[in-house]
Amino acid sequence: MKKELVALKINGRSCELAIEPNSLLLDVLRKDLDLTGSKRGCDDSSCGACTVLLDGVSMLSCTLLAASCEGQEITTIEGVSEHGSLAAIQKAYGDWGGAQCGYCTPGFIMTVKALLAENPDPSEADVRTALSSNLCRCTGYNQMYEAIRSAIRAERSAMAAAKECLLPRAAGFSDPVSRGVRNDKT
């Protein structure tokens, strides 16, 4: 098939690409741009490992034509880290065992990002419903819930700290999800 030129905006950067009109976004990300964080786990849009954000909405990149994403803001897992450090949700997934083999993790993190953007204080049922778009075979999901709760807490205290930063005495902010502070469940 003859290639056509498309302009995509991915993780805040614009790029022009010559792609076949029937190319899927996932293939363009993985093969043309080497953004291999989005994974292919199934043939039929059932696993969610390829989840990306399109203008903030979580979508399966394996069922999107890349050419149809022109003019939209595409965010992949590679665009989640903030200012050179792990985003709260990424740190929390590591600390709480939300990722084991890690193959489904990028998809889950994108799903959680979309969820929290829409609903910053989700109930357990909200979280379960949101996560049901993605499959994981390692974790049984339990530790993900803890990671998400912890990330929400971290975001909140980071916001509070950021506000305090406006005042001069705010030095010494410590990360609440660092290892030592992990509470044992009872």
Partner: protein
Amino acid sequence: MDNGFSIIGKPTAMVDAAYKTTGSGKYTDDLSLPGMLVGKILHSPYPHAHIKSIDTTRAEKLEGVVAVVIGKDAPNPYGILPVGHDEHALALDKVRYVGDHVACVVAVDDATADKALELIDVEYEVLPAYFDPEESMKAETHLIHDNKTHNIEKDYHHVFGDPEKGFAEADHVAEARFIANEVTHAAMEPHSTLASFELDPHTGKMGRLTVWSSTQVPYYLQHKLSLVLEMPMSQIRVIKPLVGGGFGGKSEVIPLEIIAAVAARKANAPVKITYTREEVFWAHRGRPRTIIDLKTGVRNDGRITSVKARVVQDGGAYCSYGVVTILYSGALLGALYDIPNIQYDGYRVLTNKPACGAMRGHGTVNVRFAFETQLDELAAEIDMDPAEIRQRNLLTPPCVTVNGLRVQSYGLPECIARTVERSGWKQRKGKLAKGRGLGIACSHYVSGAANSIIRSDMPHSTVNIKIDRDGGVVVYTGASEIGQGSDTMTAQIAAEALGCSLARVRVIAADTDLTPIDIGSYSSRVTFMAGNATLRAAEEVKKRIAAAAAKKMNCAADDLLFRDDVVSKRGSAPHAMKNNPGEEEETTQAGATVSGRVEGQILRGSLQQKRKDEGPKDWMTFEEAVVAAIDFHGALSGTGSYAPPQEARGGKHKGAGVGPSPAYSYAAQVAEVSVDEETGEVTVHKVWAAHDCGRALNPVSVEGQIIGSVWMGMGQALTEEMVWKDGMLMNPGLLEYRSPSSVESPEVEPIIVESIDPEGPFGAKECSEGSLAATIPAIANAIYDAVGVRLHECPFTPERVLAALRAKKNAKPLNLTEGIDPTAPVRFREHGGSLWFRGKGPQRHALDPSRREGPEPAGGAD
């Protein structure tokens, strides 16, 4: 929580967590090489057929096709077990299951390769096929493998003690048939392999081969590649990138791993092959459908007197791990409870379906489901609390079981006690609302097989450690990280043993050129075996550092304490420089140390440093000690290896090699379920899961493994099942296979029990598999508690639960399958009347048992 360690036992994020959460980590399919081609595989459409001819000319002529590989290109047989070399990379003269590998197209892109697959002309002569193991065992002609009479891969008949006498002594005997249907790993990462040859500078010809593959066993892959390609192992490098889950599905050599290498050789270019999800289902190697005829006798006091099991496994078309699976099924009847008499008859049967292999809880899960369910029935019969009957049959370790398994650490009593306590068993059992119930079950598993697949006295794991003047500790281990936390465990053990911080340790793993041999990540062996090897290597290096440091500090090496990046004399105040020992990993990254150097800059030796020194000190930093040791010894490295002790390697009977382990993990679980009596739907609300892992090296990982096992067990108990029709898999997708999503998944409360094994590294045993087997019977027993029906076939789908409920009420069975293809197997028909089961299926030979007239079509008489 202070256990006397600075790293062991502390919740630790995995050392590779950031690769996974940022998407920067590379799995095999994420890799590419310049000039790389893709391979696509042509699979057999028939369950059993001779290949009369393959014509690839049309495909080869297609623009963009570089090569077409067929069986003749690599005719040597291989197989994971030395007794089971019955596979070929691509079929030579016969295909044995729908999905068997026939040819591989190498092309410039996926679309071209797909097009070329349709241009390969294969002429088949269809043969009668066997789909049900009990039918298959009667086969006289058209055998699946010519040398396996009656299609029996292997059968074992073991008698320990005097089973008949045991039954005579019993007050109650239960006997029943249990069926556990076939399940598969469905790891999230589809199998993928990238193979590339380099040109040899001396001969100018194709030389060394490098293979990147999603494997749990890089060294076995290296060995099998060497067999098939007729290359020395030293010319083959296998690298395991990140692996997206294995669960046993990547613990043997999968055809695409060999095909990729053969294709790269034929195409003279790097070739990558990645299975589609459907192909992953066909590749399978999962847990076989198992028919268990089980008989158990107990006395009125609850003591088990005798157990007799006849197990038939539907092994699929190739041996795979089959011989080991059927042996585990029998061997692991022992070592959980004290059973004085055991009779075991196991049959591993070949059928025309994808080969079954090793899956989490290898061999033990289905038999454990039967045993724990039957024990529950017997408890009800003698009117004893189900938790109590289990406590009445405990082993008294250290001991050797009647079938020759050595048990040392034994946390089962505490597992039972703690699940009973946490779940409120005593207060709540039998008192829940109608339709809601509690069930208990126990299980166990090996911490690595005491005998390796290729039997030898060589170590099962070897680990090298290098410490150089950068002060970094590099651990080289062949152990394969597949998501279970192998690399993290290695780093933790090395850091704890050397008394340095985790940040100092770097793990280089699973690269056959760089790392010493380790037989792989299977049978839950890594923590115990590779962990012990790491500990020994670290102890060796530490001894060398201690010798040099002791000299400097004017004391005996034994008087030195290594901890938190400080080497100090015992009794001195070693951690004065640290404000907060035990929680200070940050310090090492933070910067300058007392000597004024920035940490990590050991360029000058101790001669220069001595100028600053003022006589012997009470302590020195880890780096100073390393400098002293390099000065003293000239180089600093160490090696450790592990082979299981002779006493742990089992008895002398035929098949005694499988089952023995240096240590066993133990688990007890209580499940709380509710059953909708209208629909038959079972909901698991919560599982309390206690697991004796010896010592929890990293509690986050241990809990994750326990929860994951319970969850996977729940999948097998309730929804997961491979549905076959005449050798065709009806549900080769993650949705149809019904892997549970977050909405269907219960809360799991992991309870860590630490029995501190005398031989485990820091007392650790396995934690990744043992819990799975308890979940299925715990749910079955809870269903009985809830609605009073005993289910003997898993998964407990709404259809099966409803059928059991109606049978209990003597109601007419519901015919959910009216109008469905009457030739479909019975167990398939009960799957309901959806139209997609009605397809004609593959063309069948006139002699095919499934075309026989009569009410009981082959493959379905269960």
